[in-house]
Point group: C2
Chain length 541, copies 2
Amino acid sequence: MKGLMMDCPLTVTSLMRHVNAQHGASEVYSLTVENPAHRSTYAEIFKRCAQLANALRRLGLNRGDRVATLAWNDYRHMELYYGVSCMGGVLHTVNPRLFPEQLQYIVNHAEDRYLFADPLLLPLLEKMHEAFPAVERYVLLCGKDALPESSVPGLISYEELIEGEDERYDWPELDENTASSMCYTSGTTGNPKGVLYSHRSTVLHTYASGLSDAINLRSADVVLPVVPMFHANAWGVVYCAPMVGAKLVLPGPRAGDPEALVAMMNSERVDVALGVPTVWLGLLNYLDASGRRLETVRNLVVGGAACPRSMMVDFQARYGISVCHAWGMTEMSPLGSVNAPTAGSAKLDDKALLAQRLTQGRAPYGVEMRLTDDDGNELPRDGKAVGRLQVRGPWVARRYYRAEESALKDGWFDTGDVASIDSNGFMNITDRTKDLIKSGGEWISSIELEDVAMTHPAVSEAAVIATPHEKWTERPLLIVCLKEGASAEADELIAWFEGKVARWWIPDGVRFADELPHTATGKVSKLKLREQFIAGGAAAS
Amino acid sequence: MKGLMMDCPLTVTSLMRHVNAQHGASEVYSLTVENPAHRSTYAEIFKRCAQLANALRRLGLNRGDRVATLAWNDYRHMELYYGVSCMGGVLHTVNPRLFPEQLQYIVNHAEDRYLFADPLLLPLLEKMHEAFPAVERYVLLCGKDALPESSVPGLISYEELIEGEDERYDWPELDENTASSMCYTSGTTGNPKGVLYSHRSTVLHTYASGLSDAINLRSADVVLPVVPMFHANAWGVVYCAPMVGAKLVLPGPRAGDPEALVAMMNSERVDVALGVPTVWLGLLNYLDASGRRLETVRNLVVGGAACPRSMMVDFQARYGISVCHAWGMTEMSPLGSVNAPTAGSAKLDDKALLAQRLTQGRAPYGVEMRLTDDDGNELPRDGKAVGRLQVRGPWVARRYYRAEESALKDGWFDTGDVASIDSNGFMNITDRTKDLIKSGGEWISSIELEDVAMTHPAVSEAAVIATPHEKWTERPLLIVCLKEGASAEADELIAWFEGKVARWWIPDGVRFADELPHTATGKVSKLKLREQFIAGGAAAS
């Protein structure tokens, strides 16, 4: 027997309609190249979405066509998010920091028909456009007057494109399984793989991210996603903030500039901000050096890589700001887990509580997790057993775009992470499968060693990689950047590990670097470190 | 083009699986006739759900069969919620306070095959069972030893039923549109009508109710639903609290006893409690009279009827407790709106803020609202225009059980309420369509008049009904109960309205009553008031 409730598809369109009706007046602040403080509202943005949709229809966009963006976090990018998906197109956000060969692969693999780019990325477009034969139209995200002379054929400005178009659009009633957007994973091996989100997956992810134990956004809040809109939907904030009516602060091209971030956070009264550890480390160092303070921020959500212990401690101790650890991946829309206390957390001592807060947290309803050994046997959720982390749920990818094969094994998606899960569901990633150090038949977690190294007062960033070893198979090598003006010897750093980890985990050597190489998504590139520090390392990885 | 995300049905079963994995250790406290402090956990409850499902399979329950409950809020009722729905049956919660003829109609109309009842309701069963020819099996929610001799044929205890059954059950993968549960509306006119919820509608409603601006439950919270599980799913709390891992406190048959509630709230450290105004008025009066305090409660959610202004003010002023106004109906699963502040609320003065907090609040994403005039024309959302409130969304009923016709007009469900909506989405119910007083061609809101009367220090409860009037069609009549020991004359009460409402709204007369009649769901029965105080009133209603 079927229920007798209304049949309403879960679409981004229904979200837009809700936001228009309930939260149209909520503000969106954007920094762009043209304007250091552009102010708009959701209602104004959705009117411009309609203009954009009318313009794209005029250009001949068909249902399912891909529209690429190479853009920072700002209001025009947001208009593309809603305008393209709600008219039945597929928004393809492209990471402008990818290598040219990756960009070329991705844009061609997705067969993008239109490409919208930030003016700062025009040099990239000029260099690349001949490598994008399928792209019919290039649009620069700026006003008519700001459009420079360019070698890109037919380039027009966004404002010129939408100018004079009707502010209403007859948004279609889409099936909820219609594709809404796509994003390629920047895998460190092989070609990038396209994840194709649906309206349904996006809506369900938005609900989950709005829960009190997830991003916990309220209508009265102000939220700043430093995490880019070109990567994994800015962790869903561009959907979740409008859903609840929170004010959005979009940092445009200044997302990596701590001084600009602090200015925006204080002037716009930001409550919650989200980003990767590298960004928050930069912010912490800037605060320490400048003596400035964050006047309103209560919560920094950190994801994309493990949160260093020292960062969590220092933000709390020096600035009274809570750092909330979250975890996800492009294939998961991206939300996988968020760290929020249970009733039992209040009974933990400071050390145990910090240990709990440093885990990746707990899966919201909608994400199922399990651990398996290499043979696919499920492991216990006892906080001790460490195994492959597998996930499933309505916002987890089942297949990559244009792939023949399923991305699943036995109905589960293998995250490539190695983790434990305790009886309360706190999940702790001990390593990426491929970054683990296998020594004497046992695993050593590179992340745990990095975490210890980061607590040393002279260390600003640290990475541990495996070096081949005749007897033990592999042994850990520590690579560190020192803080400006600080000094430390290798011996001293090695000694720092004593009593903090098992003796056989202690790295065999230390190398010093001026800076660590990062991937396009801001993670430390262990691939490059191996190339740099290990003879034949790239081949061994 | 379709998205490529996993196809995971939205089912109560998936919710149960999530709770088991993540929040199995969270506590459920229940008061029952047998036990004033029964303690369990979600994990234990779900084991017993499996035993229940095995027992029901043994009894021959088929997919889609209805299982009725006549029960208070306790752990066994919760086991029926999950066990019946997840095995593919339909849980039919029946309000034990209904009149016998309504009970007879409902149980027979639903064709319930099994009926589970609280021991306190055995006398009702003994009186009624012959009127339920379709019911094959009666189960009393108690242990074997607590089962009394009874005239109900084949009566067994719940514990005997499930004893020895396997604690595992191979829960089926259900289509998400499968019916999960049903509840009949206790309409004041005509026969009750059955609302048939689906797994999908229940899951989506659960997400929305967990949002920070809705019920705002966290894992570390303790929540007490005074609102009964036999009526509109206890406002979804029995799904939402487990979803986030919050501790549940279930008051059993003592939900209407302020002394018992205060004891439970303090001993179990309750953060959030939900109920109708009558319950909270009783609690307020008890606190005032006893000098006791609530030690941990931060939020009382009030719905089911308009929250009296004085109650909101007094709880805040005397006890530091925030009263949150919410609104819904059985046909809406039931959540329709919750009152939470916007960024603009902080700028309001005390009076304007209170006025905003007294509205029914804002619709979460998933509920669309509109106002229409009598001809179906949409009215503006300007906070002034008053019209019929219509809703739609994935947890709104489209048709009643066994009804031929749709319950919708033009795709919208008419709530029977008359309301305004302001530009920020705050919805304010001014009356039920049928309780409005039509005077001189204009509408007078009975609710607003009741609210003014309730601010008079001598008044404990008030109701306003329409009396026929030759010249003005109808005129308002005020009916009041005075507080114990208080006195007030009719003239004085009439004078109380001066300057507070338009002169022509002021009631023409006052009648005093020892108590007001309430419906089975705790609302003041205006039908009975009309019968009691107006010559030919019942006919006129």
